[in-house]
Amino acid sequence: MKVAAILLDTCRELLYRKTLWIYSGIVSLTLLFFLLALQTDVAGGVIASLKVFGLEGHASGGGFTLDSQQGGGSAGLTAASFVQGIQIAVAFVLYPLGIMLSVFATAGLVPSLLERGLIDLLLSKPVSRPMLFLSRFLGAVLVAAVNLIYLVGGLGLILGIKTGVWNPGFLLSGLAMALYFACLLGFVALFGVLFRSSAVSIMMTAVIFVASLIVRWPHQNADWPRLITGRAARFVAQGLVETLYHALPRTYDFGQIVAALILGRGTASLGAMLGSALAGGAALAVATYYFSRIDF
């Protein structure tokens, strides 16, 4: 009951801040677009005709054009490829946007929890500090996950009804993104409890995001240490890159995981997911420990 109370309050606070309403609005518009504007006929698993706002879709070169000419079809484009294409496009636009807005919305959750006058009240209640902190974290993850589920569930359903193609990989990609957000939120929580400032939390999380993309290249390229001449400097630089790569959420890898899940190509990298989960979990554990030990 106490956990449920904190979850409910966290959701209320996030809804009150309205940042996530912007994301829900964008997702709703996207879903409405596909619901109302897209018309398809599928025959034998192939797109026989396609209309967007009444304009006919025609295959041209490697892409699609929309015009008022009738007939022509979609040149053998399979419904599955069509659906996967839309899902990839939506995922690579709306997932990063969702993550960004979720970070903005949730960055203030820990600093607001720590405000004088409120934290004294909360800690005077029969709730343990870890329960208070982790329930708040869980509430933020739930709200972000609900937004992602709204997107993938809604779009998957609309495209499934219109084309007959049901892609479970798209749903899984939404869950993968929720996991990525949870990993990132572990760092948001850590910065929140250390600096007690939403702005600093957002900035530091942006640094984490960019750093996680940057260190991936030297991690993947065995030749890069040759660029550094000094042996000690090379050792330090290599150590730093590997430490950062393993200590941060693996943003680039998650992008690949999302693509692999949607396209059904190969298997998603469990190692990257596990590594990111461990990194986020470690950040959250440090944040929880620190929160449990500080004087207010």
Binding site: R12, E13, S112, G117, L118, D120, L122, S124
Partner: protein, 293 residues
């Protein structure tokens, strides 16, 4: 720097205990240590027989912090439900308890307004409501009447008197010494983290050698005659002729007896005789003003 040092204090069950001290004396620190909001570097404390911060003990306590604030997105009613849930109150009993508390602190009409729209006095009353929600055995209040107008103060005092009548132990931190004097059965004074005085209000506020004598029918001529014979006698400003007049006598029992004899000889009616006591404020100012040895 040590916030508290060598503090040895026991608050008996059922007492209304006042903790006094100037700013920075360590009052709030002590409360935070008792609740597990801050951690001691050394020493031992128990609250309701349990260590500070113990979940089971906290379920039996209510706390109103100084400058408390509530999540601005909640209404008064939602805030009480939230803190009620955290205190372990279950529905449907919680709903009736919240309703009752809102009525008791006179916020019933504001239950659906967001707390960010509340005035300071309303916030303080909401704070009292959340502190009393779980019907605590121990109520800890840090400046409960801070920033409240006299009527609001009176209402909060009534609530505390009622709560004390139910057997709740009340631990009160306050700058308002008159409030403490009226409410508390025992008082402790902290200064620079040290306990400098502890006892009942009667023990701390000793009788003085000043007596107040209220008279009726005292003429200016009689007063002048009395003052010529008793040096420590003064009087308030004269009111209507033949009306009550308050005399103040600085002296011992012998002087008082002499004054009473003289008043009776002159057929002046004696309405009341009262020996003055030091107020808690006098005691506090004296103690706090003393230089550390």
């Amino acid at each position: 720097m040590r916030a508290l040092e060598g503090l040895d204090l026991r608050v008996p069950r059922g007492a209304v205990f006042g903790l006094l001290g100037p700013n920075g004396a360590g009052k709030t620190t002590l409360v935070k240590l008792l609740l597990g909001i801050a951690f001691p570097t050394a020493g031992r404390a128990t609250v309701l027989g349990r260590p500070p911060g113990d979940i089971e003990a906290k379920a039996r306590m209510g706390y109103l912090p100084e400058n408390h604030r509530y999540p601005p997105h909640l209404t008064g009613e939602q805030a009480l439900h939230y803190f009620g849930r955290l205190s372990g109150l279950r529905s449907p009993g919680r709903a009736s308890r919240v309703d009752g508390m809102l009525r008791r602190v006179k916020l019933d009409a504001w239950r659906s307004a967001r707390v960010r729209t509340y005035s300071k006095g309303m916030m303080q009353r909401l704070g009292m409501a959340q502190a009393l929600l779980n019907d605590p055995e121990l109520l800890i209040l840090d400046e409960p009447t801070d920033g409240i107008d006299p009527i609001g103060r009176h209402e909060i005092r009534d609530i505390l008197i009622e709560q004390a009548g139910r057997g709740t132990t009340i631990f009160l931190n306050s700058h308002l010494l008159s409030e403490v004097e009226r409410l508390c059965t025992r008082v402790a004074i902290l200064k620079d983290g040290l306990l400098v005085r502890e006892g009942s209000v009667d023990e701390l506020t000793r009788p003085t050698n000043v007596h107040e004598v209220t008279t009726r029918g005292l003429t200016p001529e009689t007063l002048a005659a009395l003052q010529s014979r008793i040096p420590g006698l003064s009087a308030d400003v004269a009111g209507a002729e033949g009306g009550p007049r308050r005399l103040e006598l600085r002296g011992g029992q012998e002087d008082l007896n002499r004054l009473i004899d003289l008043l009776r000889e002159r057929n002046v009616e004696i309405a009341a005789v009262r020996q003055s006591r030091e107020s808690l404020e006098d005691v506090f100012v004296k103690i706090v003003g003393e230089k550390a040895p």
